[in-house]
Symmetry: C2
Subunit: 253 residues, 2 copies
């Protein structure tokens, strides 16, 4: 039986999502818990995508298969009782045997938080402490260049070579709450460091190091992507993974 | 020369404010930093009051004496460069030689945060994860019994014997932000565990374990204080310490 789960974690407490020998990771914690639930059998978990060390998740999704028949609510309770308190499962849902949390994901939403006020020691692992003023007005007019279908290779780290760098960004917006800036992106998928590089570039526009139309020029290759700055991990949150309703319906047996 | 400082810290990273051998405390970190600043002389720091392990501060205040003459801004910078990143100094201010951060404090403000929504692993050290509904309306009508001048001995831990348990509470209110309840108190001073016991009692009223008028009865001694519950430390914040303007003026030499 295949299950989809939605869960949240405090990224500051893990060496990223992906399992690594001898390091504390979200995937590693899940596989320990699933081993106990699934009759002491090694059970793999497949997420909608990895998050880097320090990046938080509000609504990450993943799937796994169990050999036992157990209710959705009991899976939630069993996982939450076995997992450490920096991970929390919101729900478990039975899905079709061919459902895949990564390949069936239609859309993802991320947001990034920046403190432009004085340094805050209490939120330092949860909001990027930029601690200087930014020109929000100019950032708001620059962010629109990210919207739409683009080749984002200039915003991806060198290491991650891909065949296809084309991604579609549906929404990109900036909100402010007193000294906190929240930059949100909704798109069909994001590559490694893509959002942190997009945010870092917006910061460089907001502090006058880059011009408003730089994003357009970096995307087109007219401007070198060495001007791109990677914003630190602690400000980034995976908010939501969206699936089509059809994919979520459990197969009748 | 005597200096007053205002500072913030992440209580989840310390064994409380007060210095203790071999444990990481806020006071201990300050005394290490002041030792370097004050020409390698042991320098004591005196705060407006202690906070318990896990309790946060947004606007804690303290005073100390230095043998060197150094500008207020340089003290701020020197402290922030020497202190760890879970403490932050907002400002330093020269004050009269008889200024005392504890005895001159006119008023203190604390607030307490409770999450009545689903468990949040990201805020678990910063908001009490109560994770059940509370009757805010009844809590709002009960909190008014704390206002005014009362003998708060029933809301103080057994260990802390005092001569005088009379305190004056000027403001006591409850605000809500989605699933977060914020309970604020302003008063002339609060004793050990007093706020956590007041909040715990409000929670017991909000979940129907105690009646609305229990606070009145506990204060008057009519109801046993074994009904009092101590809310956990992670939800508590020292927001502000207020001094009279007159006390803050630097003595002319």
């Amino acid at each position: 039986m295949r299950y989809l789960i939605k869960f949240s974690y405090d990224g500051s407490k893990f060496y990223g999502y992906q399992k690594q020998p001898k390091l504390r990771t979200v995937e590693g914690e899940f596989e320990n818990a699933l081993y106990s639930i699934n009759n002491k059998q090694k059970t793999r978990i497949y997420s909608s995508g990895r998050t880097d060390s320090g990046v938080h998740a509000i609504g990450q999704c993943a799937h796994f298969d169990l050999n036992i028949n157990i209710t959705e609510y009991k899976i939630k309770c069993a996982l939450n009782s076995l997992l450490p308190n920096d991970i929390h499962v919101f729900f478990a849902k039975k899905v079709k045997a061919d459902f895949n949390s990564r390949f069936n994901a239609k859309e993802k939403e991320y947001y990034y938080l920046i403190n432009v006020g004085e340094y805050n020691p209490i939120s330092r692992n949860y909001i990027y402490q930029y601690n200087k003023k930014l020109n929000i007005k100019i950032m708001r007019s620059a962010i629109k260049y990210f919207k739409g279908k683009h080749d984002f290779r200039a915003f991806v780290s060198e290491e991650s070579k891909k065949n296809n760098y084309i991604r579609y960004i549906k929404k990109a917006k900036i909100k402010t709450y007193k000294d906190i800036i929240k930059i949100s992106f909704v798109g069909n998928g994001f590559m490694k460091y893509q959002i942190r590089n997009m945010v870092g570039t917006l910061i460089r526009i907001g502090n006058d190091k880059l011009k408003k139309d730089s994003i357009k020029k970096i995307l087109s290759g007219e401007l070198d992507n060495r001007t791109v700055f990677t914003a630190p991990s602690e400000g980034l949150y995976l908010k939501r993974v969206k699936y089509s309703r059809r994919d979520l319906i459990e197969k009748k047996i």
